[in-house]
Amino acid sequence: MKPWTRYLYMIWLIVSKDIQVEWRGKQGVPVMLVFALLIVFLFNFALQLSPELQAGLAAGLLWVSLMFASTLGLNRSISLEVENKALDGLLLAPMDRSAIFFGKSLSNLFFTFMVALVLLPVFSLLYDQNMLHLNLLLVIFLGVSAFTSLGTLLAALSIQTRTRDVLLPVLLYPLALPILIASVEASRGILSGQSKFELQSWLFLLLAGNFLFYAAGILFYGTILEE
């Protein structure tokens, strides 16, 4: 195999392994989903949201619940590797360590995106607004991708601390703030029917975030994991 195809194959192996583990144990996506729904309900009562919810609030609520739920998935994904030190097995394998980063963040992206796909119709029902929108799906993909890539990187940091996974939100949320803002604003724009032109700058920010975090992953993931 050529080095490049081998690299992609390794990433695929890690993603498919994560999906297989999830399929067996069902410890990740269901928990994330229930947690996301709970947050929606909590916010509903805490903020006294009415069904005639503005597009802006629905978008914000969607993203907050999605990011909270995703954090659970990120922690689950790394603790899976640390348990029994399965991560050492990946580190021993003949591949560049950045492939592990890509594998882990893509599987995290996949799981969070699955949760989003279930959340969207639920939101449409609860707040009486059609949210199944192709452009919105694109924004969710970009936002979640940036968030999970950064999260995958930081989860590998936090898991090495004494408090294990507790630290992840504290590390992740301040750094992910621009992603949250851009995602919410872009989603809000789509739901309120703004033109593509008005959304351009937000999409650009999301792309820049993706670029930055994946680049940081390639550069630093090996450094984070080696002793």
Binding site: M1, R6, Y9, M10, L13, K17, Q20, V21, R24, G25, Q27, L80, E83, N84, K85, A86, L87, D88, G89, L90, L91, L92, A93, P94, M95, D96, E226, E227
Partner: protein
């Protein structure tokens, strides 16, 4: 892919510090091709650190390692030839034994994965348990599966870190036989143990790690010439 066929390991001036203290302090060691070297030393002498550095899991602060004619130790293709058994089994609890092995077989790009999986499962006597999830495995079975994982790609360098830990006498006996069969031309084995007595008949060399340095390294036949080492071994029967 260029992989040199010699599996001689040369370590020079290796330093690794934790808490400012060198765990490995200017360690140098040469393991000949096809040798079976016992790495002995008290707990905390740095055996695990040395093995983890050789396996590429930890990074040395200073020093050179070359394998065969290959001086670029960080080349990840070198890991194609490397098998490592550590303290932890490195498996996913939710997957079955055979699924775990398949994952590793694919990572090592084995073309005849299923055949190799069956072979190693048979070799380690786990064929009948292959469909069980790993969480149901006892410590001894996990250790055997670990060995299967380390052997599946037929590595020319095998690093074993205290493989006898928490094995009952029967399992230990089984491992004895296994290790006996692992030796072959072209394969270099480094096994760390703090009670190495039972392995003396199998090993070809013995290296004594003390205070971060190799203080003795000699062929097993010359063991008698080193009373200090003999005394150390006697203490730990």
């Amino acid at each position: 892919m260029t992989i040199s066929c010699s599996s001689q390991i040369t370590i020079q001036g290796l330093i690794k510090r934790y808490h400012f203290r060198p765990v490995l302090d200017q360690l140098s060691l040469t393991l000949d091709d096809s040798s079976f070297c016992l790495l002995i030393g008290a707990n905390g002498a740095g055996k695990t650190t040395l093995l983890r550095i050789l396996a590429g899991l930890a990074r040395a602060d200073e020093g050179e390692i070359s394998i065969g004619a290959n001086h670029n130790f960080s080349d990840h293709l070198l890991r194609l030839n490397l098998g490592y058994v550590g303290h932890e089994p490195m498996f996913y609890n939710d997957l079955t034994a055979v699924e775990n092995l398949r994952h590793y077989a694919h990572l090592y790009l084995l073309t005849d994965a299923e055949e190799k999986i069956n072979q190693t499962l048979h070799l380690t006597g786990l064929s009948q348990y292959q469909g069980q999830p790993l969480r149901t495995f006892s410590r001894g079975m996990q250790q055997r599966l670990s060995l299967a994982r380390a052997l599946i790609h037929n590595p020319s360098i095998l690093l074993l870190d205290e493989p006898y830990t928490s094995l009952d006498p029967l399992a230990a006996k089984f491992l004895d036989n296994q290790l006996h069969g692992l030796q072959k031309p072209g394969r270099t084995i480094l096994l760390a143990a703090h009670r190495p007595q039972r392995l003396l008949p199998i090993a070809t060399h013995i290296a004594w790690l003390k205070a971060g340095k190799i203080c003795q390294h000699l062929p097993i036949e010359q063991l008698a010439e080193c009373p200090e080492l003999n005394h150390y071994l006697q203490e730990r029967v």
